[in-house]
Symmetry: C2
Subunit: 598 residues, 2 copies
């Protein structure tokens, strides 16, 4: 087992040098915090990761989850971890003091979450889900619902879920058929099935609170007729005792990876006795759920970056310890073998991972900061931050997952045949990370969202804001020798990108919607390359500043500049092929009369 799974130096560099976490402390909401207290939290997270998460990573994968006699057993460490996050106030750490939270900046919460996920990616989903589900009730539920459910979830006692997907409604949520029938007491009877529900059931949870989408009888078809319900596994009697609520676990899904993170198939209302409680107003369920989905999308990006981080350090450790072969320049067979860390191709594979991982975490923290700024800004600013967050959300979900998969596979490659064996963690990371481009909206869905909605909304206002932010960084880079040349490259790519966008918008304007969106996936890939390039220029500038100031470890800052150099030498050029295709008007993938796929 590799010992290092993340770099604390990197997290602190990103929090303080790149994203200026300390600027948040000037706001009332965050005034209790300072660098010292945050450092302590980060160190505590790392300590917990070292002692209670990483050591169980492999064991939990081997144990997996078991469904027997209607009951679900998950690895025993999970309940312990969930309780810990509850007891230490981590689950609701970002909530306001008056809700019992710590008003912790999301930047810090995500940085901590990254550490936990890098140590053990299957263990942390339970608390993240509980937190997200609870927050949904906080945002849109009643005071009674808050009192009844939220506290237990925040305490790490009751599991929460997001119950959206159905057998015939996965990517297309508007097609859900789970039904809510209004009762005389204002409650609803729920009938239907949900699949792929993470954390949906396990013995150790006293209760599971499903935040579930369903259709109230007679509601309009499509997305406009979906409502949000609290559907507990066990309902709470007047006296506080728990009674079965006719939510049956029909089975669990057996997965290639994240095997300790249970995925369930639920059936509601087999005995016509499943009670659901409406959250907020009727037919606004999908809108509400987007709060949790958007948060979850950032979490998925974070998870992708975290698994890739653990894989990077495992492969780096192997490369440091393994000797094999000689440099091309010295083929003398008498000479002892060199460390594989000296081989250019191994170095390329390591720089690739480092560039992906650190670029991705930086983007996650960029988004986290936007959430924090939304929390503390006035209306006008808030809207801008909101738009920026919205346009970045599909990218922060997709880049760390798509490129994270490649990054982990590259990490595995560094180990040669050992990478394919269970004696090293790479094969598990390779299996674990593969889910990230699938859940919380596949890459295809994220790409449609980015191009079809986010780029277009408010006449492209979000896109303009994003370009403005990137330009601000490029301008700043003019003052920094090492970052400047890369800023020029990125500026040119951004121009190409705008040409692409103009061409595509032209199709949209002409009503050629299918053509407009046909290559949304490639558009996403291009956007990711640019946005991560932006994050690398930010890191380059911060490193140059730090070098000038003489404050901190110069070698570390130089490693940042070198990795930025790598990114612009090896990653940015990939934009060229994408731009070529995206400017090409030839239609290939839109279904015509003939079927060519045979």
């Amino acid at each position: 087992m590799a010992e290092k799974y993340m770099s604390m130096e990197n997290i602190k560099f990103l929090l303080y040098n790149v994203h200026n976490l300390e600027s948040l402390f000037t706001h009332d909401r965050f005034k209790e915090y300072n660098r010292e207290s945050i450092d302590m939290m980060m160190d505590a997270a790392k300590d917990y990761g070292d002692k209670e998460l990483l050591p169980y990573l492999e064991e939990m994968d081997r144990q997996g989850c078991v469904y027997e006699n209607g009951e679900v057993t998950i690895p025993p460490q999970i309940a312990k971890v969930f309780s810990y996050f509850g007891e230490t106030g981590w689950i609701n750490a970002t909530e306001s003091y008056d809700h019992g939270g710590m008003q912790l900046p999301h930047m810090v919460h995500h940085a901590g979450g990254f550490i936990y996920a890098a140590a053990n990616n299957s263990a942390i989903g339970y608390s993240t889900l509980a937190g997200g589900a609870a927050n949904l009730i906080v945002s849109f539920g009643s005071e009674e619902q808050f009192q009844k459910y939220v506290k237990k979830m925040w305490e790490g006692k009751w599991q929460g879920t997001m119950a959206l997907t159905e057998p015939d409604a996965g990517s297309s949520l508007s097609d859900i058929t789970t039904t809510a029938k209004r009762q005389e007491d204002g409650k609803f009877k729920i009938t239907g099935q949900k699949i792929f529900i993470s954390g949906g059931d396990y013995k150790e949870a006293d209760n599971v609170i499903h935040l579930m989408l369903a259709r109230i009888e007679g509601a309009p078809k499509g997305a406009r007729g979906i409502s949000l319900f609290i559907v507990p596994k066990r309902r709470i009697d007047e006296d506080g005792s728990l009674q079965a609520n006719d939510v049956t676990t029909a089975g669990i899904f057996h997965k290639m990876g994240q095997r300790a993170y249970v995925t369930t198939h639920l059936i509601m209302g087999e005995k016509d006795d499943c009670i659901g409680h409406l959250v907020g107003s009727e037919n606004l369920g999908l809108k509400y759920m987007f709060q949790m989905m958007n948060a979850a999308r950032i979490e998925v990006g974070l998870t992708g970056a975290a698994i890739a981080s653990a894989a990077y350090y495992a492969s780096l450790e192997y490369a440091q310890e393994r000797s094999q072969g000689r440099l091309p320049s010295s083929k003398d067979p008498i000479e002892p073998p060199t460390s594989i860390l000296n081989h250019a191709d191994v170095r390329r594979m390591l720089f690739f991972q480092k560039a992906i991982v650190e670029g991705s975490i930086s983007l996650v923290l960029e988004c986290s900061k936007l959430i924090d700024l939304i929390d503390v800004s006035d209306e006008k600013e808030k809207e801008d931050y909101q738009l920026l967050l919205e346009i970045l959300t599909p990218i922060v979900k997709t880049y760390p997952s798509e490129m994270g998969i490649q990054s982990v596979s590259t990490g595995l490659q560094c180990l040669g045949g050992y990478g394919f064996c269970v004696d090293f963690p790479l094969e598990q990371f390779h299996r674990d990370i593969r889910i990230t481009t699938l859940y919380e909206g596949t890459t295809g869905i994220q790409s449609l969202d980015l191009l079809g909605r986010k780029m277009m909304m408010q006449d492209g206002k979000a896109a303009k804001l994003l370009f403005g932010e990137i330009s601000k960084t490029l301008n700043e880079a003019k003052e920094f020798e090492k970052s400047k040349r890369h800023a020029i490259s990125l500026f040119n790519t951004l121009n190409d990108f705008q040409q692409v966008l103009n061409r595509l918008i032209g199709l949209a304007v002409k009503g050629q919607t299918n053509e407009f969106l046909a290559d949304a996936n490639l558009f996403m890939e291009l956007s990711g390359i640019i946005v991560i390039g932006w994050q690398w220029i930010k890191q380059g500038i911060a490193a140059e500043k730090a070098l000038k100031s003489g404050d901190g470890d110069a070698k570390y800052f130089e490693s940042k500049i070198k990795t930025m150099d790598y990114y612009f030498a090896y990653e940015l050029p990939k934009s060229k092929g994408l731009v070529t295709r995206l400017m090409d008007t030839e239609i290939i993938t839109i279904k015509g009369d003939n079927e060519y796929l045979v």
Copy 2:
């Protein structure tokens, strides 16, 4: 379980229309064959795949291999399959009649092997290894060795292996330390360890014949001091009885995929009683072994293409059956969901797979034909075919494996969350195919071989021959409307490629060997894109010819043209980023004084 794992129409199109298998039948060696007999063999292979290979794919993965009390148990179907290949003469089918073979063209043998591997990639390695090991004895061993070992291996009774890798000598074979000590009777006593030995031991094999590299005491250091030995698990007494030969299986490797294909750790000579028999001359072992390694490299490419083929059809079948969402142009929620086969992004993912799979198989058959032509040509032609085969070997190993991994991952993506679940075969294919860029020389090793050796040998003669072959195809394309425009694109990319090669050769000439080879991996990627583009033009031309002749299924030929269109719209542009990087003189990955990888 998906039912279709390969396309017979495609195999026949490639054999007859693209690679003109029938032209081989004019040669004496192959004169007994005709299209009818070959079709029958292909159909029989498919029938065996349907009935005896595919049905056990998942089961064999679940069973895996077990090491207990020094004994190795593999899934029971394996021995049956191995016997079948022996009894039907498949293992030595390409051997000459006087050796008991069938003088089957390698093209046909590989086409059949592709069918078997697509049906069950873990089941076929055993017989491929036995055949390859036997052929090594045929080529370089004595008549006595031939009589003693080869027949049993060809009959599917004795397993054969290639025993190269050691704990400290994987990619760097010249560092092996297994020792051979000459005895008075001319035999050798072997001591040492070998790891990652596929098919290295299992209970059902009466014997295992290791073709093993070792160093004779006092031999020169490095590659020039390696000899080849036959080291049987059980040695054959004068009376024909089998006695233990002090080859101990110390354990097996537990792998992420290909779990039915056992990988062993062997120890020779613990009791100083392991006898080895020298094959051919002393110190020429590595040279001999390259025969088996080169054959195995093509087999790995074939396996990558085969797994990707099975994944393609599994994802296509899913896409055909799954309805979800609506086209962007029709967001009416009342409208019933459409088949996901109609979504542009799903179609892109399917075309991507089809382009990779069919391009890869075509290249495998291109190489197979070269082997056949070598068998029937005079000296002058033989040398050219040999050089072409040598320069294509690292590419045919690498493209189908590297791109096959991406192709399978894309197939998995088509299934959404189900792709991650064991109920569908995609997750197994994703695990299985990951080994292909590792064994028989990693992609890094193949890339060094391609750029450092193959491009340079005989003053670039192999490269010139390859460019000549590609140019021949591009010229022919001038007569074909649909292929012509792509031929022009490929011509331009080939020019870029030559510029890149000139720049790199310049570095080599100046003795800047490390700089010359630093980006060999990207050079390989670029080479692969070009060579597969060439294969697609060949297929395009063949399809246009067939359409003109009116012979055959027009829809199928149109699907070929459409897939060629896809390749040139989406895959060829990837060359642009690679060319940009390869023309860039900035050094990033060559180790300098500082260590930036932290």
